[in-house]
Subunit: 352 residues, 2 copies
Amino acid sequence: MKELSVYTDRIKNFLENYFSRDSLNISNINRWGMDIVEKFKNFSLKGKMLRGALLLLSTEMFKKMVTPGDVKVASALEIIHSSLLIHDDIMDRDLTRRGGKTIHSQYTDIFKDLSKQEAYHFGESLGICAGDIGFFIAFNILSESELASEIITSIVSLWSEELSYVGLAQMEDLWFSTVNIDDIDINDVAKMYRFKTSRYSFSLPLMTGAILSGQNERIVEVLKNLGEDMGLLFQVKDDELGLFGSEYKTGKPVGSDLKEGKKTIYIIQILHNTDKRDREEVINIVRNRDSSPSAIARLKSIAKRSGAIDDINTMFEDVKAKCMEKISQLPVDPAYKERLRKITDFIIKREL
Amino acid sequence: MKELSVYTDRIKNFLENYFSRDSLNISNINRWGMDIVEKFKNFSLKGKMLRGALLLLSTEMFKKMVTPGDVKVASALEIIHSSLLIHDDIMDRDLTRRGGKTIHSQYTDIFKDLSKQEAYHFGESLGICAGDIGFFIAFNILSESELASEIITSIVSLWSEELSYVGLAQMEDLWFSTVNIDDIDINDVAKMYRFKTSRYSFSLPLMTGAILSGQNERIVEVLKNLGEDMGLLFQVKDDELGLFGSEYKTGKPVGSDLKEGKKTIYIIQILHNTDKRDREEVINIVRNRDSSPSAIARLKSIAKRSGAIDDINTMFEDVKAKCMEKISQLPVDPAYKERLRKITDFIIKREL
């Protein structure tokens, strides 16, 4: 996104340099140290840097500048995000990510002399270690960012709290994938979204920017709420793309959420709006993880007829209006408000 | 250990209270929040609290008191240790720990409606999340300990660096378990021990105590070296108990290290001292993971005859002397020096 690319470049620059430094202690511990630095460099640089860029935009809109210390904090957040993805990919048994092999699947390749099952186990185990190490590298960069200690401590406090919620939401998400769609309460899914996506991917970066620029608690609270709204738009749009998005544009197969058994708000909303006649068909498609073109077409036509798509679009408009209202309250230059508005708009208009 | 029990009790007291607070935000996020608080309470309270207690002893010997903030830091370290064990148990596929089921095996039980393999996968996945969450809970307690921000930042910096080394050493340990004993360099094992055990379990707690009491870098460095020596004694003694220890006393089956394919310094030292005649027999016992009483007895007799046990005992005496020398240099009351000496002595005399 144009509005964020200037920040993305600064983060990439830091990560590139950080993971290329020969003086990095971690490279000199053992054979795995050198290797993990290389893996984190390649993996983190391929990310979209949404969270780190939002963090820097938030910092800059309050203090009119971004220091090297701020860039370190944003980069640390991107490393944490990479670690979360490494662990998630083990849990979801995904073999590809960011256009390449997942980290645990790269490690699996090392053990080619063992049986397939043993190799996979050791690959997963090294992947668990790599994720853990990423968390610690990130907190280390944060603690050595040369910002004021009070600021570092506030960020450690905010991040550690929100990240523990991300973990709990991930547990809930895993749980949902093992139960019937009928047994899931839409409010529980909404709560899961709030902590797994909204608070983590939007509120946390925006709030961190406010902490870095010394804003008061009232502003931090407004940004938390703005982030929750933006995150909801983002996640439900993501659901829509995961169900009806074109493979050409999203890079994911059409109906991939169905195939993976994901219980998204989008699907639950369709079921919610559907009358008795269509209900069984929707449940069957979901239960059988049927992502055939005809099933997707049927689901789309039921979703339209039932009014589910209209309801979701109305929700998009309502939540978007709430975002615009909160953005207008912020004590920042109009140019930054305009950027935040464009980002909000992009979230629901994007096709990938 | 008598010398540490006064500190252990304070940590247990904090953990008991912390994980019983209804006001704990984490309990109110979702069904997993309440559950994880309960699991961490039970699991962490069953630990020996060696690391937390050493941390408080180190704090007290410099500043003659231990504050509630210091106890929070020690408790945070114990929670991190629990998290490392949760992840280790997944990697080692261990089903019991601290006299009960491992955490991932407790989660596996929840998925009894799934196939055995699927249930185990989801159990492991929730275990990965639980370990991650423990790290974040610990950093949250640390950041909210109400100590000076400079102190908190220094501790975050020290811990995050050392913990990334622990992860790398764990990767090396996993790797060793998949290769032949002949292909392992004893220096690589010694390095693995240094970061997985010595620095983490001894240097880090001692150094944290020095940071909490505002000691200078020279003292912190002496404690780092003292911890490395104490840790080496601890780990090689652990190897000895894992190989020749009595099940009645250690709670682990005799020869359990052999059975698990662990490549300990103790075993490598035996192989190193053994002449051609016995070499093949030792390698066979190790390769076949043969922990039968007769194999253990043979190994012990070869170890004695070859001089390996004498060499290890000489090493114990040398390293112990180095510890005593460093302890005598510390600018603390003689009573605390005496405690450290007793702890060092206990490490190599213990039978469990």
